[in-house]
Symmetry: C2
Subunit: 367 residues, 2 copies
């Protein structure tokens, strides 16, 4: 046992679990940006304690150069890591990998959540198997925060579940509601179900059934109804519920459109001396817009519905982006996200059992 | 019989069918923008002849004020029109409505295509019932052209079919290929199937089955494989194939993201004297970008796979937008779109029958 492990065990023995276990080796720029990211997050969350899982030989010099991160971390050494192209089935067998040990720390109560910039498929699979879903949740969902004209919007599922039934969509609405409350600080988030039109008759049995159940549940007062693709950026609702296939495509389509415009703007402003001067004059506003739409500010996809907080950072992010993903995880831990989800699920269970058993399209579709 | 009807019958009797039948009464700003739109399109297509179906009392003064449109049009009078909120089932019974008569003109060979800015659901339902699908096409698809970093991209289906199976997706690939050839003028359009990842193992049986069949077909050489949401605006492929639910959401999500940025830019440039001056300096480039992304330039969703060319203009468009939708329809007519689709279907039929009958995931999913 090395010094770090001893320190970690001493801490947990003293009843001081870590706020987060961090996979130090996941992502394109690990472990450098992970250590620097923790340093940044530590300023915003001075009480947070991190269990940093990774290669001590690589981490030691980085921590020596970042006193803030060093003071907030305890290192658990492992030389194994899950590669970016590792298949989930293979990843499941790597029991000493940094990602696995970080998730294990949550499972055994040593940490309240985990952050990784590593392999998404592996993180999904390991989290589901090691942490398991909350009682009453059929499948976990991947959620993220994105910018809109009226403030931040939570969308889920973003790809954890390719096919979803009515029941899954209802669970996503509940998870999204609680996420918007804890991370966005809203008291009664408006909830919408993504569809091809806003009228109640649009779409298939799956989305119409989900709308019916949500409308009759304890979050029914917050239910806006169906929303369309353009409502995401318009911020029509605070939470956008959809299946993982549609959500994944919508998220990436929106990102692609933003990238197209930002590339075009760069070309426009670089095209002549006059446009370069124009840029300089408009720069404060453009810079504000750039910061506001900065993908790093929205980094951190969250796996909701598991016994523990799980946040996936973008693999190619920098220290600022990793710090943001860490912030999201810490917000969820500090606001007792999972305890509150458990309470909400109890209330939803009542609503579901009140539904007539046979004919309702909602329950039929929910199977 | 009025003079216009007599003129129309005389024309068709003389073996001169109209290029297009136009629903003069559909859309928010009909019939004004329809007449002006035809005037604009007539400059670009001087040989085109239009059968303009609508209220002659309202059309006569508009045509009197637009000589280009007047010279290209023959009016067929009707006082009925399909309202924007009319349900498709009700619309089917309005046999004298302008949209219906315009579609009827295509069905009886009097016109080669139809353009309407009216009720989308009604246009879809009427077109399917009156014109019927091409032999070998299970379901028609709605396609549109959109801007990308590498030029125009065709995406389909955009909402005509909420649920699609493997066979439908394969048909969409064929229809999209032919559309890109005729309207974008490409000799070998690159084709992609929209999915949650680019690897062959991603997605469900439906998309994987479609990819397998397309790869083995006569358009297999043009098949890029799976594309993701961000590939649409990146222009990774010329044709993006997807089901109507995902396509509708993706289209509107992209539009919403572009609107968000354009609203933000407007705010930025209006925020101070300095930013206003900056706008003036960068204006030529910004104006070029605005024109390039102008939704009117992409107006015209096309119903593919029917016995006749059917183009839906956005209901809220102006004359320039309606002219663009008309251009798309005329391009399809002039390039013998439907004849070429029939040839392509014949070749695809061969590919489908070459598939092993039992076990293939593609055919199983195609059911």
């Amino acid at each position: 046992m090395d010094a770090a492990q001893a320190a970690s065990q001493a801490l947990t023995a003293a009843g001081q679990p870590f706020s987060l276990a961090v996979d130090a080796m996941g992502g394109d720029n690990a472990p450098d940006i992970v250590v620097d990211g923790i340093g940044i997050a530590s300023v915003r969350h001075p009480a947070a304690r991190f269990l940093l899982v990774g290669d001590q030989a690589r981490l030691a010099p980085l921590l020596a150069g970042n006193t803030r991160a060093r003071d907030a971390c305890v290192v658990r050494h492992t030389s194994d890591a899950i590669a970016a192209d590792c298949k989930p089935t293979v990843a499941l067998r790597l029991r000493q990998a940094s990602m696995r040990l970080a998730i294990d720390a949550v499972a055994c109560g040593q940490a309240q959540g985990v952050v990784s910039a590593g392999n998404t498929g592996a993180l999904l699979a390991l989290s589901k198997i090691v942490l398991k879903t909350l009682p009453g949740i059929d499948r976990p969902a991947m959620a993220a925060i994105m910018p809109s004209a009226r403030g931040d919007v939570v969308m889920l599922d973003l790809g954890a579940n390719i096919a979803c039934d009515t029941r899954n969509l209802v669970e996503f609405a509940l998870l999204g509601d609680m996420f918007a409350r804890t991370v966005l600080g809203l008291t009664a988030p408006k909830i919408g179900v993504l569809n091809v039109g806003s009228e109640d008759v649009k779409g298939d049995d799956r989305v119409r059934g989900a709308a019916d159940i949500i409308r009759g549940s304890h979050i029914g007062g917050q239910f806006h109804g169906f929303v369309e693709g353009h409502d995401i950026a318009a911020g029509t609702t605070d939470v956008v519920v959809t299946d993982g296939f549609t959500g994944n495509v919508a998220l990436k389509t929106g990102e692609g459109a933003l990238k197209l415009v930002s590339d075009l703007l760069r070309q426009v402003f670089n095209s002549s001396l006059s446009t370069k001067l124009g840029y300089l004059l408009a720069r404060p506003g453009l810079e504000q817009m750039r910061v506001w739409l900065d993908p790093r500010r929205y980094n951190g996809a969250v796996m909701l519905g598991l016994n523990g907080v799980v946040v996936k950072s973008h693999g190619g992010t920098d220290a600022e982006g990793f710090a943001h993903a860490t912030d999201v995880a810490l917000d969820m831990v500090e606001h007792r996200f999972n305890e509150r989800i458990r309470e909400g699920l109890g209330r939803l269970g009542g609503v579901l059992s009140e539904q007539p058993p046979g004919p309702g399209p909602a329950l039929a579709a929910a199977g």
